[in-house]
Subunit: 392 residues, 2 copies
């Protein structure tokens, strides 16, 4: 187990109707005026924004609102939010939505405390040193942004999607009402579950061998999320399944399951290119990239992929040919993704094979030597080969 | 899944030599004078206290020390600590030890901010409203006090051992060096592992059926702790095994694994009577009580005990007679406890059968109707029957 430092400042309140806690929680932070960030009109029409505003009013917290966040959130709205914060004297961000909304809120929070261009943080030119407190009312189990240290924004003009990791990204509170995602289309619930699993898998396919406890936690969470996803996609009103997905999304991406181990994140970098170029849901892109990434890297650590197959998908271990077991695990994962309605090829995603070289070349280099991925470093040629595997 | 609120304020630093972080962490809290609480002379002789003091000195934090905490920590030393805090103007407690030391530190912290007798908090006469910040340098993987909301103290004169649960109990930081427990005798390592497992099991044997995610997390952690315990008891210098145990002790008792579900804690209440009366290690007492508790309650939820048997101890499921599977799980757990050198009967523990009625009568009543235990409420007669099962 590697050394680690770990601290989750986020306060979680979980259950039906917990959006009514928004006002008291903002007060608890000592804030007096909140910027409510949200996405489409459905949050207004459903009455959710109204309930949140009523809670703020009840707690004596002033508020202004900024709607219009889209999936794969853009820099344009972040700039608008920063201006609004400054003009209105806002001292707290309240994000009401899923990962895109929360990430927009985080970027506004950082940018409001910075004299330069907030994109500096995302292109590596500067590091945020201060931020405004962010709270979240989660409406979708997926990105884990409600307590993660990450934030992903797309620069619209250049179609560049980039992530920022900093402890300043962690929200101060997260209100988790498992009833809110019940009105989502099954496709979006499936995208969310795929994203949750991908967050665990980026941590699971590590290079270390001495990580039994965190392996077991990752496996346990994957088992529960896979089971709940099958249920929730068929019946979005199953409260129990929505509970597992919502708490699963939270712990999948705040390192509860995976302290002290090397993580990869190469698949995420490749996927960012897909969703930036084609504007597809992040989860759908991950459904296409991850199985191809697994097939490509499997041979470098056959036993780990076999362990995944046996412990997560219940495959029988082939002790003579562990690589067969490993492959069966990847096939089982792909079958699961198909079952819940996800695309698993580039074509099904609507991507164009002729874009592959450019996608590979544009993928963010995360290592000093210009490769991508913490466990299995990849050159652009590797990434191209992975995307070709996904082009079936 | 039940509604919950959840917040762990503790900052964790994990790895070799992290006791050197004590000074900077105390500074970070804004404190200027620490009371170092510790146990026996071994912490001094090993150089640990010296390293901690050097770290405080380096950070410009003044300090006084209070040694002599014993297992099953007594009120007497708490009173002494409170007096020392007041006399010396201490504004932070730094506990260097295992659960007994950390619990003593917590009780001193609460008592120092209270005009009355600190025991008021433990006998239910008052609730703590303020406390001093507590930091921990953990030397033993067991009680989980390094981030739990609980604290257990024994009133020496009456041999009354009582726990206090409050969010004020959570330490502000925990420095976790897995090398520190390497010098412990295997028996103490085994007691610690038993305590860790018991903390998970108190949460695992719940009444709810809709808790798949937290079930899986509990099972995963138990698998890893059982494996690591077998290794560490044979070879205390196995760093990897000590890592799993140390992080396992932490997450086993801070609800990382078990939010949103009913918990029992009846076995712990029964055990408190044993360790208060005979001054045996808490883990050893739990090794005796838990299997008897399981046998006594098994029939009330056979499938949950069968699930434990199958998923944690790899027992084959007897679909015709699930109660046989459930029983095999209890036997497997008992066999594991014997393997690591734990007692599993009252006699092996050194307890006297003739004390059983008094032990049962004195066990803390945790429910308004005078019974004990959140999932399987027990009358004193039930507790007596359980202790008789342990008298073999």
């Amino acid at each position: 187990m590697k050394n680690f430092s770990y601290h989750i400042p986020t306060r979680f309140v979980f259950g039906r109707g917990v959006e009514a806690e928004a006002g008291p929680q903002v007060r608890e932070l000592g804030a007096t005026k909140a910027l409510i960030v949200y996405g489409g009109g459905s949050a207004v029409r459903s009455g959710l924004i109204g309930r949140v505003e009523a809670s703020l009013d009840g707690a004596g917290v002033a508020h202004v609102a900024l709607g219009g966040v889209k999936p794969n959130p853009r820099d344009v709205l972040v700039y608008e939010g920063i201006e609004l914060v400054r003009r209105e004297g806002v001292d707290c961000i309240l994000a009401v939505g899923g990962g895109s909304v929360i990430d927009t809120g985080k970027a506004i929070a950082h940018g409001s405390c910075y004299d330069g261009d907030f994109w500096d943080f995302f292109c590596g030119k500067a590091k945020p040193e201060r931020t405004l407190p962010v709270g979240a009312v989660l409406t979708m189990a997926a990105a884990g942004s409600e307590s993660s240290n990450s934030c992903v924004i797309t620069q619209e003009a250049t179609k560049t999607k980039r992530g920022l990791r900093t402890e300043l990204n962690r929200p101060r509170f997260a209100l988790l009402n498992p009833e809110l995602p019940m009105t989502l289309p099954p496709y979006q619930i499936a995208c969310g579950a795929t994203d949750i699993l991908a967050h665990i898998m980026e941590r699971y396919f590590t290079g270390e061998a001495d990580v039994d406890l965190t392996d077991r936690l990752c496996e346990g969470a994957m088992l529960a999320v896979i089971r709940a996803a099958r249920v929730a996609v068929k019946d979005p009103h199953d409260y129990d399944a929505q509970c597992q997905l919502m708490w699963g999304s939270t712990i999948a991406h705040n390192d509860t399951l995976a302290v002290g181990r090397t993580q990869d994140w190469g698949s995420h970098q490749i996927e960012h290119e897909l969703s930036a170029l084609y504007d597809v849901p992040h989860g759908a892109g991950l459904a296409v990239v991850f199985p191809a990434w697994m097939r490509y890297h499997m041979e470098k650590n056959v036993m780990r992929f076999a362990q995944f197959a046996v412990r997560v998908y219940g495959c029988g271990m082939d002790f003579e040919h562990p690589e067969k077991t490993a492959l069966r695990g990847i096939e089982a994962h792909e079958a699961f993704l198909r079952d819940i309605g996800m695309p698993v090829t580039l074509r099904e995603l609507g991507a164009r094979p002729e874009d592959i070289p450019a996608l590979a070349a544009h993928t963010k280099k995360t290592n000093p030597d210009g490769t991508t991925g913490g466990v299995f470093p990849m050159t652009p040629a590797d990434i191209e080969a992975i995307l070709r595997l996904a082009d079936r």
